[in-house]
């Protein structure tokens, strides 16, 4: 068990190092980093000061180490637009993004898992068909189209909800619904197939045959085993949630990190882009690490190995 967690942690660290290296390489490939970060029309003395402070006159491997040191001390340069420290520019947007992604994630799990389990338990029923149709549509319809259809119905036709901005809680409903539905569809489809696979196993037949009630079979045997692959997919879903936030915040003019990323890419405000990419990558790696740890705790095979190792 300790070996498993150790190797996962090592992997996470390697991933973070690779992301930082990637950003370093891309930054060096795209031209003089001082000009790139400060902007072409920056005053020459500011560019020189930047060069000295980032050690751009040093050999490349020294630059690489300096870059690492700067990142882990939170010094990522200034935004081209208003000269403010990029870390604070990005961090002040985080609460807005969380205000969408956290409820959306809860909707994903709260709708997706029960719908998938129900569909699997009532295979080929009308509700199963309905869940599957919704799940496949949810995959094929990109979030920006779903978002605009929701705006068309609830803002333009019915006039119930606002279509853009962040003035009240009502502004959050359509973005959350957009992100919540897409993820729920994916999770429902996955949970259903995980459940069906478990229900086909011989230990389920054994549990039924020894006289357990069906609900006990489902609760004690099927759900716990189907939870193992489902937890893994939730780790992947976080990536989808981040990508979804980028698109959905743009559609609804929601001032979060995703909207900031798109605007910064369009304006080529590279210091901000770099900071957001690093932040997202580190968050994702951390989230996947948590999923791996949960996986280790959930999977009885892992615990068995530990017990054998001890005994």
């Amino acid at each position: 068990m300790l070996h498993y967690f150790g190797s996962r942690l090592l992997r996470a660290i390697v991933s973070v190092v690779m992301v930082v290296t990637f950003v370093f390489i891309v930054l060096r490939l795209s031209g003089d980093p001082a000009i790139v970060i400060m902007g072409a029309d920056a005053p020459p003395e500011a560019v020189d000061a930047f060069r000295t402070s980032w050690g751009l006159d040093q050999p490349i491997w020294v630059q690489y180490l300096t870059f690492f040191k700067a990142i882990f001390s939170g010094d990522l340069g200034q935004s081209m637009r208003d000269g403010r420290d990029v870390v604070s520019v990005v961090l002040e947007r985080v609460p807005s993004t969380l205000a969408l992604t956290v409820p959306a994630f809860l909707l994903n799990v709260g709708i997706g898992i029960p719908a998938g389990v129900y569909a699997a338990l009532h295979r080929n029923s009308a509700i199963d068909r309905f869940v599957m149709v919704m799940a496949v549509t949810g995959f094929a319809m990109p979030s920006f189209i779903l978002a605009m259809l929701l705006v068309l119905v609830f803002s333009v036709s019915l006039g119930w909800l606002p279509s853009a901005g962040q003035d009240s809680w009502r502004h959050a409903i359509l973005p959350i619904a957009t992100m919540g539905f897409g993820g729920a569809a994916l999770l429902a489809r996955f949970t259903r197939s995980a459940m069906l696979e478990v229900l086909g196993q011989s230990y389920i037949r054994t549990a039924s045959a020894k006289g357990l009630s069906w609900s006990a079979v489902v609760w004690r045997h099927a759900l716990q085993n189907a939870a193992i692959p489902t937890v893994t997919i939730i780790g992947f879903m976080l990536g989808g949630l981040v990508a979804g936030a980028v698109v959905v915040e743009s559609v609804f003019s929601w001032p979060g990190v995703g909207r900031l990323l798109v605007v910064s890419v369009a304006n080529r405000d590279l210091a901000v882009v770099q900071a957001i990419v690093l932040m997202i990558a580190i968050t994702m790696v951390a989230a996947n690490l948590v999923v791996d740890v949960l996986y280790g705790l959930l999977d009885p095979k892992m615990q068995l190995q530990t017990r054998q190792a001890r005994g």
Binding site: V16, M18, V136, F139, S264
Partner: protein
């Protein structure tokens, strides 16, 4: 990484037997699959014949006829799907967009498959340190959502159609790499690979002529699963204004510009939105069905 272990442990499959199987099963194809295939054939025909069937040049501006309504909303037959804010024919733009989006998706899918399979074979052939590097790259790809990575690259390098296709080609390469590596390792452990090797074939010949055909069906299924994702990615980036740039047009691009006229002229956005959704739906249904038929072990 669990899937690598499972693919490694799998026995090799015979392409010939599967081909016969497929023919035998063609008699019982579900109706939905027939509809999906017809739709995809239609899309392909539209893309290939774009220049012939387009009613107007897609960039032709006609300001006297701005925002005219489509036929299904009471407009006239001159503009079947109406016109946009500059009086350009929506149907003509839709046809040009279908061609652009399909071209990008085909190009990117092939680049991703070639890159992934090559790296997977390299990892399986050399093992050891080189394999660890490839696996670390696979982990790295999984660490950042592809959309964010693509946005970062577009920010640093600017945009052109060629760069955009290559960039989307990086999507899903790690999936092909995992599959190719796993299947090549299990292929190498079998008699036929050893026999070809003993007969003096070069590694290039061994992988290209002997191992590749044996894993082709799995790769084709993976490509059908990646194709709709690339269509959705392309349309998402173009929708954000960071993908295909005017005067070129793509499906996502049309939806993005149509968004400004959502209240007064929803048809500008509805037509491409419908095409994106139905096309992605058709390919993924087809991919799912092919997977069930050809390779039920692939997840």
């Amino acid at each position: 990484m669990a899937d690598i272990q499972s693919t490694e442990a799998r026995p090799g499959r015979s392409g010939l037997a599967q081909g016969q199987n497929l023919l035998a099963q063609l008699g019982q194809v579900p109706v939905l699959m027939v509809i999906a295939v017809i739709w995809l054939g239609f899309m392909l025909a539209v893309a290939l014949l774009a220049d012939v069937i387009t009613p107007y040049p897609y960039t032709q501006i006609y300001l006297h006829n701005r925002l005219s309504t489509p036929v299904f909303m009471g407009g006239d037959w001159a503009h079947l799907l109406g016109t946009d804010e500059l009086g350009r024919d929506v149907l003509s733009r839709l046809i040009a967009s279908i061609r652009m989006s399909l071209l990008i998706a085909f190009g990117a899918t092939i680049i991703g498959a070639v890159l992934g399979v090559t790296l997977g074979f390299v990892a399986a052939h050399f093992r050891g340190f080189i394999e660890q590097i490839v696996l670390a790259l696979v982990d790295f790809s999984a660490a950042i959502p592809f959309l964010v990575l693509a946005l970062a690259v577009l920010a640093f390098f600017g945009n052109s159609i060629t760069l955009f296709i290559c960039l989307l080609g990086l999507h899903a390469w790690e999936r092909y790499a995992r599959i190719a590596r796993g299947l090549a390792i299990s292929g190498n452990a079998q008699g036929y690979a050893a026999a070809v090797h003993q007969l003096g074939a070069s590694p290039l010949r061994l992988y290209g002529r002997h191992i590749l055909p044996n894993i082709a069906s799995t790769l084709i299924v993976s490509m059908t699963l990646a194709f709709p994702e690339i269509i959705l990615l392309e349309s998402g980036l173009s929708f954000l204004g960071l993908g295909v740039q005017p005067p070129n047009t793509s499906l996502g691009n049309m939806v993005g510009f149509g968004r400004e006229y959502l209240t007064g002229a929803p048809w500008i956005m509805l037509a491409p939105a419908f095409v994106i959704t139905v096309t992605a739906l058709s390919i993924s249904l087809l991919g799912d069905w092919l997977r069930d038929k050809l390779d039920p072990t692939l997840t």
